[in-house]
Amino acid sequence: MVSIRVENLKKYFRKVKAVDDISFEVKNGEFMALLGPSGCGKTTTLLTLAGIYKPTSGKIFFGDYLVNDVQPRDRNIGMVFQSYALYPHMSVYDNISFPLKAKGSKKREFHDRVVNIVEKLGIGHLLDRKPSEISGGQQQRVALARALIKEPQIFLLDEPLSNLDARLRVMMRAEIKKLQNDLRITTVYVTHDQVEALTMADRIAVFSNGKIMQIGDPEEIYNRPQNIFVAQFIGNPPMNFVEAEIKEVEGITFAVSKNLKIRIDDTLKPYLKNLNSPNVIVGIRPEDIKIYKNKELNRDLTEGILYVIEPLGRDEIYNVKVGESLLKVITEEKLKIGVGERVYCEFDAKKVHIFDRESEISIRR
């Protein structure tokens, strides 16, 4: 196995900066997800790793080797595409053995390997079919088999699950993770689906407009977003944001806006020195707000009006109008409150995120 190191990679298409000066490392055997909205440069990055695109500038190392000028066929990578890209005119067997034939192997040499991998992936009965004659989920498995048959040292996946239906996607998610875990193969996985990234990856690189906004393990990305982009991109329903000002009242620090007042927890206070001005954006996840029907004493409560309720089965999302802003609150508790009634919100002071309004960067940088 091998590690990947990307240094100051830039990829421009004429004037469009698809990838704009990114650096990251994928450790030996690690599962790295590149996460971001469409058009953010994550697929371009992947195709540059594969050697399909040449970097405009910057360096890509596989292990100790600079691979910038190495042809895709010599990079020893396995790749799975969003559309699976199976060769329509070849049978499943021929598709899977195609990478082996490239090395000039004969059928009697590779037959066992093909049988082995199709058994593992449960597609042994499909070998004679054409790609158009099998289901999407089966095509997906064939694509995996084709990518893995030559025992590549790097495994690249480009949105491999986005063409599957929801049920199958959840199943394949676990299966790919297990496969990667067993093989311990260095993996780069491109996705726009935060759930995939959070559930599967060892580490996640969040992309936006050709730049990496944050790299970290799923726990870090979720609980300590470095900037507004990551904070609002990760989490569903998304984090609530309120513009506020940091003020000290009677020795207690608050983030204050017209309609609400959020106490800043002591653990966050040391970070406040990172601010250039008291103008901030406060972020709070829907699950970190508690909602009450009655005004209770001894609590810092913010008054609002219940705007609409979205039931999700197990949970419910309460949309609460506080002044001009709409807060989303998610809770398992079923409160008996009608739309239009007065409610009271409590923010979990320890879970509040504070961002500089100017730079949009978290104070816990």
Binding site: P72, R73, M79, F81, S83, L86, Y87, P99, A102, L156
Partner: protein
């Protein structure tokens, strides 16, 4: 509330409009249907009532197949000339365009945009205006009055069209399939040969069939650059026959013509579904 009312006209308008439209379509299409019907019927008949109803069936008109018409080369020799012309044009054009179409569709290079513009322009360019210069070129290269000359010329002039068609087929192949081939361990040429080429078979068929028919039907170049009867193709043969027998022996004219357009008809019957989609860029008339 008003009562809901519909007039007879409102209820039947849709159907009446459609009937009128179909009638008009039939009327304006009738000349084509009638002339082709006549072509077939007249070739098997001695005399025609009202010009189009066969009176007595005969095979006499088809005598040219086994007996040469006086003053004309044997039909089979002419037939083979035509076949060689059509097949060669097809072969050369397919060869050049499966390569050129791929290059213009899939390769990234500095001159690409310029070349695409050139292809587009000369595809529409009236090659007929170049006959004089082409005559001179064939003359000095010794290709005048040879089938080879016409083959090279005809294939070359059709290549821009063919490239455009092939490029269209290549363009439809998903990039990811080609990425996969490259990642799977093949060079670009190998990927082209093993993966891409099998996927553009329909395009090859289209380019092949149309260039075959175009070579098969070629008239102006043969008429201009071929002088000796031995190198005649069916188009010049039929033209000469028309010149000598017009208004005299329609039976002979129609049977030879019918013989000539057999490949066209076969193609027309089997491929008419694709015809309307593909021929847009192939231009004539």
């Amino acid at each position: 509330m008003n009562e809901y009312k519909l007039t007879f006209w409102q209820m039947k308008k849709e159907k009446i409009t459609k009937a009128i439209i179909i009638t008009i379509l039939i009327v304006i299409t009738l000349p084509i249907i009638l002339t082709y019907t006549w072509l077939v019927l007249a070739s098997f008949s001695t005399d025609m009532k009202y010009g189009i109803i066969p009176v007595k069936l005969t095979l006499h008109n088809w005598r040219f197949l086994w007996k040469s018409i006086e003053g004309y080369p044997p039909i089979w020799q002419v037939f083979f000339n035509t076949l060689i012309l059509a097949l060669s044009v097809m072969g050369l054009e397919v060869f050049a365009t499966i390569l050129g179409g791929y290059a213009l569709s899939r390769f990234k290079f500095r001159m690409r945009e310029t070349l695409l513009k050139i292809v587009l322009v000369i595809h529409a360019f009236p090659s007929i205006s170049l006959l004089v210069a082409i005559y001179y070129i064939l003359k000095i290269t010794g290709l005048i009055d040879t089938l080879t000359g016409v083959i090279l010329l005809k294939a070359s002039l059709e290549i821009p069209w063919g490239i455009w068609i092939m490029k269209g087929f290549y363009d439809q192949i998903p990039w990811e399939v080609e990425f996969a081939g490259l990642v799977d361990g093949y060079s670009r040429v190998q990927v082209w040969r093993k993966v891409i080429l099998p996927l553009v078979k329909p395009g090859i068929a289209v380019a092949g069939i149309f260039s075959f028919l175009s070579g098969w039907s070629e008239f102006v170049f043969i008429n201009t650059f071929i002088l000796s009867q031995n190198t005649w193709t069916l188009s010049t043969y039929v033209k000469a026959i028309i010149g000598d027998f017009r208004f005299v022996d329609y039976g002979l004219l129609t049977s030879i013509s019918l013989f000539y357009i057999i490949p066209t008809i076969i193609f027309f019957i089997f491929a008419n579904k694709y015809l309307l989609r593909v021929n847009i860029t192939g231009t004539k008339g």
